[in-house]
């Protein structure tokens, strides 16, 4: 394998792992509440900038800066639920969608006021270090991104499918009234859902910072790719989000190198449109009618 191909695959996997994290945040909220959070991209942007504050502005050691940023994002998720989502949640779906889009714009502009319009480039814990992989020089940060993203995904899987809190979260997602009748605190489960969404997007934001620039407009492109990833993977499927994210990341990197770097986003969305035409339920999705 050529060196360049190995480099492209690794960076595609790294970018894809970030999309997978963001895609999982989309799915988690959508499954629990039945609504897509269109402010998800802004969550990633805020996560990235909170890390800018703890890493660049406060000059904290990374072992303190990252956990602090993630804690802030957990609170951000909970607060978003309390002041944005909770008042909206019993309204019509369109109201919720427009509400989250609108709040996303507010968050974006509040961030512009807070952090300014000049992009930051937070440093990676590994600096510019490179590692030899199959004879190719690979950025250590890319490997770090892949490892952290998959660690987060693993933890999420264990929480949701292997603990009783996870079973309660799934119960709320499957039948909210029945969950109430079993004494499950539905509100508490929703708070938890949004805290996890904050942690997933926060992790994504922290990881992309050193790869790209931290810029207040960075959220929407990432969210759109993550959205493409879950459409390709199957909208409510956890393995689908992971596979979809990786496919989008690889398509973007390989497309940019071998087809056209100008149209790399176009290539991703073209694949998404093909999926919508040929297999709208995605790779792991099921048609609505097949649901038991």
């Amino acid at each position: 394998m050529s060196q360049q191909l190995v480099q492209l695959i690794v960076s595609g996997l790294a970018v894809g792992a970030v999309y997978a994290l963001v895609g999982l945040a989309f799915i988690l909220v959508n499954e629990a509440t039945g609504v897509v959070n269109f402010a998800t991209g802004q969550f990633v942007m805020v996560g990235c900038f909170v890390a800018v504050t703890t890493v660049v502005q406060m000059q904290l050691p990374l072992a303190a800066a990252y956990p602090l940023a993630l804690t802030a994002m957990a609170f951000f998720g909970a607060i978003f639920y309390a002041i944005v989502f909770r008042p909206l949640q019993d309204r019509a779906v369109v109201t919720v969608i427009i509400g989250t889009v609108m709040i996303g714009i507010v968050i974006q502009n509040a961030s512009l006021i807070t952090w300014g319009s000049v992009p930051f480039r937070p440093r990676s814990p590994f600096g510019r270090q490179v590692v030899d992989v199959f004879g190719a020089a690979i950025s250590a940060h890319a490997l770090f991104v892949i490892a952290v993203a998959f660690l987060m995904i693993g933890l999420l899987y264990v929480l949701i499918y292997r603990t009783s809190v996870g079973a309660r979260m799934r119960a709320v997602a499957q039948d909210r009234d029945a969950a109430r009748l079993m004494g499950i605190g539905v509100d508490r489960m929703f708070v938890l859902t949004w805290v996890i969404a904050g942690l997933l997007t926060g992790t994504a934001g922290i990881l992309v910072g050193p790869m790209w620039f931290a810029d207040v407009n960075m959220g929407d492109p990432i969210a759109l790719k993550a959205f493409a990833a879950i459409i390709i993977g199957g909208f409510s499927s956890v393995p689908g989000a992971i596979l979809g994210g990786v496919l989008v990341g690889l398509a973007e990197m390989l497309g940019a190198a071998y087809v056209s770097s100008t149209y790399k986003d176009g290539i991703v969305f073209l694949i998404m449109i093909l999926f919508l035409l040929v297999r709208p339920q995605g790779i792991f999705g099921e048609r609505i009618g097949e649901r038991a």
Partner: protein
């Protein structure tokens, strides 16, 4: 155990219950009979806190429930097995049972004894423990719905049409189990269209029509009441 006093519930402008009063004493099985749309399910949903009453008071275990949430009513010992069972389709049988222990289970506590009780009542559930909810038959789903409610350690069970959609032999089986559960000291209020079956197990019964209680009395007397015989027993 349960006292409902002049309860009025409406869906928008349409009244569903008009000043309904009923009482269930500790240890009793009380049946609520009536046709489709009479207000039976509305009454149960209001008692368990899914619907808000316009007027009237519901007292449980000596104190009024007020506007407390459905979750807090489960904590106080009121478990509702809803119409259509509403088991969690994507959870296994074991997970379905486990999530209902939320109200009492704290770190380090075990639900093993509760599980044994449920499996003793419904041995089929033990065989199906690892299966997902949607893959169960109608009868098994009903058993799971009742078993799940028991996992909350209720003082009182509200059962909405436990025999709906079940073959006669399965219905009888389910009703025998309801009698067993009552024998363990759990008070039961059940809503049922299968009047014969309900009156066999119940101590007392109420008949509800168009949101009004029209008859009440011991189950045996109601079974012989001409109005009940004509309207609900097809005699």
């Amino acid at each position: 155990m349960l006292a409902v006093d002049r309860l009025t519930v409406a869906y928008g402008a349409i009244g569903a219950l008009h000043g309904v009063s009923l009482e269930v004493a500790k240890g009793e099985v009380v049946a609520l009979l009536g046709a489709n749309g009479a207000g039976k399910t509305t009454l149960l949903r209001t008692i368990s806190g899914l619907l808000k009453a316009k007027e009237g008071v519901i007292a449980f275990d000596g104190s009024p429930l007020g506007r407390s949430s459905a979750e807090s009513r489960v904590r106080r010992g009121l478990a509702h097995v809803p119409e259509g069972r509403r088991i969690f389709p994507g959870l296994t049988v074991l997970e379905n049972l486990d999530v209902a222990t939320t109200v009492w289970k704290r770190r380090g506590m075990s639900a093993a004894a509760d599980l044994d009780t449920v499996f003793a009542l419904f041995p089929r559930l033990r065989e199906r423990a690892g299966q997902l909810g949607w893959s169960l038959s109608g009868g098994e789903q009903q058993m799971l719905a009742i078993g799940r409610a028991l996992m909350a350690r209720p003082k009182m069970l509200l059962l909405d049409e436990p025999s709906l959609g079940l073959a006669p032999r399965l219905s009888e089986e389910v009703y025998r189990r309801i009698a067993d559960i009552n024998g363990k000291g759990v008070t039961v209020l059940l809503v049922e269209q299968n009047t014969v079956l309900a009156l066999e197990v119940a101590h007392r019964a109420y008949v509800i029509e168009n949101g009004h209680i029209v008859l009440e009395g011991p189950a045996r007397e109601l079974a012989d009441h001409p109005r009940v015989r004509e309207a609900y027993l097809g005699a």
